[in-house]
């Protein structure tokens, strides 16, 4: 039963690359226009789907971005932070770092460390 579910996901995942590319483009557009609510919508969408579709690192990095966008009023240097976050997402995608890609894992750990250094604390 679970094997069939995994096969169903794989079938959908074959077309997910195009969806992810489009979602990242939309996210970038809304971030550049400071349309934070719309950006949050796309970051949440990417977080929710990417993990299931074989991109767990994209999902993790998008989760950081969702929280940064949610707590933007409390974050000093907010625009620097989201730029770093988006560039990380973009790099993971462009380099095809699917699954638990070792370089991707290091990249996400670095991103987490950078966020900590910036004093980013997501709201509860």
């Amino acid at each position: 039963m679970l094997e069939r579910a995994e096969r169903a996901i794989q079938n959908l995942a074959e077309n997910y690359e195009a969806e992810l590319t489009e979602d990242l483009a939309q996210l970038k557009k809304h971030l550049e226009c400071a349309e934070w609510t719309d950006a949050q919508h796309y970051a949440y969408k990417i977080k929710s789907a990417a993990g299931t579709m074989g991109w767990p690192l994209i999902s993790t990095a998008s989760n950081f971005l969702v929280h940064a966008l949610t707590g933007r009023d409390q974050i000093p240097q907010f625009e620097d932070i989201i730029l770093i976050q988006f560039e990380t997402l973009d790099l993971i995608h462009k380099e095809g770092m699917k699954g638990e890609d070792p370089c991707g894992v290091l990249l996400v750990k670095e991103l987490f460390a950078v966020l900590e250094n910036y004093g980013v604390r997501a709201p509860i």
Binding site: H41, T52, I124
Partner: protein, 182 residues
């Protein structure tokens, strides 16, 4: 538990604003051989469906765009028009902060499934919703499944205030004897 074929006679309503994610969840449910899967994308359509049709379970997102996910839970639990007041509700969400989990429990959800969705977790929540239902409480200040569960030690990573709880942590929170439990 042998589960193959057990879900053929079950019906599930899936509500997610994201067409792609809804289709993903629907595909997983079909691979589980759930007999009837209805997918919709907005609060208003969900209310219409729930007023005229009966389901065995509902899987809903927090509905971030309209912020109506918990309103939908309230409608299901309290509306005299609804044919599904005691329906098991699985909240499938990426919004997994501790306070959000407690709010969802207080609203009367039955199970919480963290996004991104993992098939075995979805199956676990579904089977729990169907076959491990807690007593249903109808009180002045709370309507929903009994929030008290077996008291278990907190086994997840304590990440309160960080980036949301993982599935193990959500399950632990829901297993704790919540202070406001009926």
């Amino acid at each position: 538990m042998h589960i193959r074929g057990k879900l053929l006679e079950r019906s599930v309503l899936v509500i997610d604003e994201d067409v792609y994610l809804a289709r993903l969840i629907g595909s997983i449910l079909e691979s589980f051989e759930v007999g009837k899967v209805v997918i919709i994308h907005d609060f208003e359509s969900a209310v219409e469906y729930l007023n005229v049709d009966k389901f065995d379970c509902i899987i809903t997102d927090w509905l971030t765009e309209s912020l109506k996910g918990l309103d939908l839970v309230a409608h299901i639990r309290h509306s005299k028009k609804s044919k599904n007041n005691q329906l098991p509700i699985v909240l499938c969400t990426g919004m997994t902060g501790y306070e959000q989990i407690i709010s969802a429990m207080d609203a009367g959800v039955t199970e919480i499934l963290a996004k991104p969705v993992v098939p075995n977790q979805l199956l676990k929540k579904l089977m729990s919703a169907f076959y491990d239902q807690r007593e249903f409480i109808s009180a002045d200040d709370y309507t929903g499944p009994d929030r008290r569960r077996r008291s278990m030690p907190f086994r997840g990573h304590d990440r309160r205030g960080k980036y949301g709880l993982d599935q193990a942590s959500i399950d632990s929170v829901m297993s704790e004897n919540h202070h406001g439990a009926s």
